[in-house]
């Protein structure tokens, strides 16, 4: 929609700076990617055999509930459920674009969007906190490891880094819970204490109230560790490797020959260059966090999007599952876009070439 509006204007480039032109170009590729993604997701959620509506009606009838024929007819009509899959796909997309209607959750018995909207702010908040944790800890440790190469600290960090990447995060979650259970006598399960949960359910508390509640942060510790460790260790490893590469560059020698201090060499020259793969790994980090949050479905029982996806897949609630995948994909694509912009800001060469160097 956005694109056609810009096209309609006379051919005059409103963007004079290379940076603005770069962002404009990147945003344009956003649309086809989201379209291909939605198609792919729809095909996937369409794969399981059987027709949801029939199963849904059968389920309702078996429970002895009254099935509203009118409602069913409306659903059929709205999503083209008795038509071939591509018609269903176009109806789905059409409804999303025109009406912001992502379909109907058979499991929850109401439209998909509100079901997701309930957990979306918390999902984004938790993901951001986890990401911040990964970067704030991973980057300094990576630098330390590189600057003090082959020191004891470097060896320890290297070991931890490898272990963190080798440990499946669901098991890490179990071990952490077991550890806290032994030390404190209570297993921290779920993001909310019962008190918070009650307040949230009654509407007395909004998600942003929860964020400042001390109990929430106590509960957040394990999930952050579980979801963030994979990304943290990845950041640590790539930061170390990249820093070592940069420290071996000729321009470091040239800066040293100029009389620049070691600390300044590291922070002004190497760090900025070494951040490149870490920043371009931002979307990878986000997808690792989503992986972690999905698997924490069973183990940690968090009130975020991952567990909902798991339940939706188990219940074959196609629109809900598809939309959650779509939202996750959207967030990651957004992350890629963001990281490309940061990269272009960091590295003038990318800005001028107008593409990311990966």
């Amino acid at each position: 929609m956005e694109a056609s509006a810009t096209k309609a204007e006379p051919r005059r480039n409103p963007f004079s700076s290379p940076m603005a032109r770069f962002i404009y170009k990147r945003v344009l590729t956003f649309i086809p990617i989201m379209l291909i993604m939605s198609l792919l997701i729809f095909i996937i959620i369409q794969l399981p055999p059987g027709d949801y509506l029939t199963t849904y009606i059968a389920g309702l009838k078996a429970e002895g509930q009254v099935v509203e024929e009118a409602e069913i007819a409306m659903l059929k009509e709205q999503f083209g459920l008795d038509q071939p899959w591509y018609v269903q796909y176009f109806k789905w997309i059409w409804n999303i674009i025109t009406d912001f209607n992502f379909g109907y959750s058979f499991d929850f018995g109401r439209p998909v969007w509100p079901v997701i909207a309930e957990v979306l702010p918390m999902t984004i908040a938790v993901s951001l906190i986890t990401m911040l944790f990964g970067y704030l800890v991973g980057i300094p440790l990576g630098i330390y490891s590189a600057v003090r190469q082959y020191s004891l600290g470097d060896y320890v960090l290297t070991f931890i880094g490898f272990l963190g990447m080798a440990m499946p995060n669901f098991l890490f979650a179990i071990l952490l819970m077991y550890g806290t259970y032994i030390w404190t006598g209570t297993a921290f399960i779920g993001l909310y204490t019962e008190e918070i949960l009650l307040a949230v359910n009654s509407g007395a508390m909004q998600w942003y109230h929860v964020l400042v509640h001390p109990d929430f942060w106590a509960r957040m510790t394990i999930p952050i560790l579980v979801m963030g460790t994979d990304g943290l260790c990845g950041t640590l490893r790539s930061m170390r490797a990249q820093m070592l590469d940069e420290l071996g560059c000729q321009y470091v020698l040239a800066a040293r020959a100029k009389g620049v201090s070691e600390a300044r060499i590291i922070y002004k020259y190497c760090l900025r260059a070494a951040l490149n793969p870490t920043v371009s790994g931002l979307s990878g980090m986000l997808s690792k966090i989503f992986n972690g949050s999905t698997i924490s479905a069973i183990v940690l029982n968090l009130q975020i999007m991952g567990p909902r996806l798991y339940d939706a897949l188990k219940a074959q609630d196609m629109y809900l599952a598809g939309t959650i995948l779509l939202v996750m994909g959207f967030l990651i694509v957004l992350g890629t876009l963001l990281s490309d912009i940061v990269l272009a800001w960091l590295d003038p060469r990318i800005r001028f070439e107008g593409r990311s160097a990966d």
């Binding site: 560059c249 000729q250 321009y251 020698l253 040239a254 800066a255 040293r256 020959a257 100029k258 009389g259 620049v260 201090s261 070691e262 002004k268 020259y269 900025r272 260059a273 960091l346 590295d347 003038p348 060469r349 001028f352």
Partner: protein, 336 residues
């Protein structure tokens, strides 16, 4: 030129050791030379003979695994003499010498600048570190130097990134960065090898002009004898971590004594010689500076070796008269 003819730098018995898994390498095995104000000393040798390590040792910017020993006495502009090797390589004192008193031009200008910052920023960093903290003043000084090295349109170039520069322009910028604080000694480590021949000549010409104007001394490191002839007052020929012959450029060219120097001279194509002679080449390769025997380092490749003498003891640098010294048993025996 300065009237005071005391050397500004004296390198005495400089050794550089590198610890590796297979043992300790000694790529620089006792180098002595001195440079007087306003003079250009050419340090000549094949790749791997230790020239670059020697030059980096002067700035104490070798990698951590390289250990330098000996003495490097530097006389700064306040006439104080310090031994650079005794300074902490990360400390304030050496950092004040680097860039301010001694600066360096690198072989490949394309990688000597960080791609992340503008050229102006990187040259100006030097000015701000050593001359003035005042932003306007330092930018003025930087721009002035950029103009002086022949960067046209300096104001615009100041805000451009290295990838927008050509190789020759970058080398000019690198020279500007090295000279912006008007150092007493400039180390030029093969400054023209990565450049086109026409640009090489321009850069050399530029360096000569600036030397005249600023009155600095130059340590010119190269493997190209043609450049040496053009640039240098004196020459030191290095082989396998040692200086094997030293003298004024004229003497070395007219009357090379060491078999290695003679080999080097023979491998230069001379324009104007009528005979289409084959270029002379020195047989073999430079041995690894690991577990060297007691004899002369050039023994294996030498055409004039004396068995029983040259493989028993390493010859010391002996003066033949004037500035001309050579480290060879044969030359001594013949009593030139």
């Amino acid at each position: 030129m300065e009237m005071n003819n005391q050397p500004i730098i004296q390198v005495k018995n400089l050794c550089v050791d590198i610890k590796t898994d297979e043992g300790t390498l000694t790529p620089v095995r006792g180098v002595d030379f001195e440079i007087r104000p306003g003079e250009t000393l050419g340090l000549v040798g094949e790749s791997g003979c230790g020239k670059s390590l020697t030059s980096k040792a002067i700035l104490a910017i070798n990698q951590k695994k390289c250990v330098s020993s000996g003495e490097i006495l530097f006389r700064d502009d306040k006439e104080d003499t310090v031994d650079i090797l005794t300074l902490d390589p990360r400390g304030k004192q050496i950092r004040d010498i680097r860039g301010r008193q001694i600066s360096m031009i690198f072989q490949e200008p394309m990688v000597a600048f960080s791609p992340m910052y503008t050229i102006g920023n990187q040259i100006n960093e030097c000015t701000r570190l050593h001359i003035t903290k005042d932003k306007k003043e330092s930018k003025r000084i930087t721009l002035e130097m950029m103009k002086k090295v022949g960067i046209a349109n300096a104001e615009k170039r100041y805000d451009q990134y290295p990838h927008e520069f050509s190789g020759g322009m970058l080398q000019r910028a690198l020279i500007a960065m090295a000279l912006v604080c008007k150092p007493r000694l400039l180390i030029a480590d093969e400054p023209t090898t990565a450049l086109d021949v026409t640009i090489q000549a321009q850069i050399l010409e530029l360096m000569k002009e600036l030397q005249k104007e600023l009155g600095m001394a130059i340590l010119f490191i190269t493997h190209d004898l043609g450049t040496v002839a053009k640039m240098c007052d004196r020459v030191a020929v290095m082989y396998l971590g040692k200086i094997v012959e030293t003298g004024t450029a004229r003497e070395i060219y007219k009357n090379p004594q060491h078999p290695y120097t003679r080999g080097l001279m023979g491998s230069v194509h001379k324009i104007g010689t009528l005979k289409a002679d084959r270029l002379f080449s020195i047989e073999g390769t430079v041995p690894l500076a690991l577990n060297l025997g007691p004899g002369c380092g050039f023994y294996d490749r030498c055409l004039d070796r004396i068995e029983g003498v040259c493989d028993k003891a390493d010859p010391a640098l002996t003066c033949l008269g004037g500035e001309h010294c050579v480290a060879c048993h044969k030359c001594r025996k013949e009593g030139v």
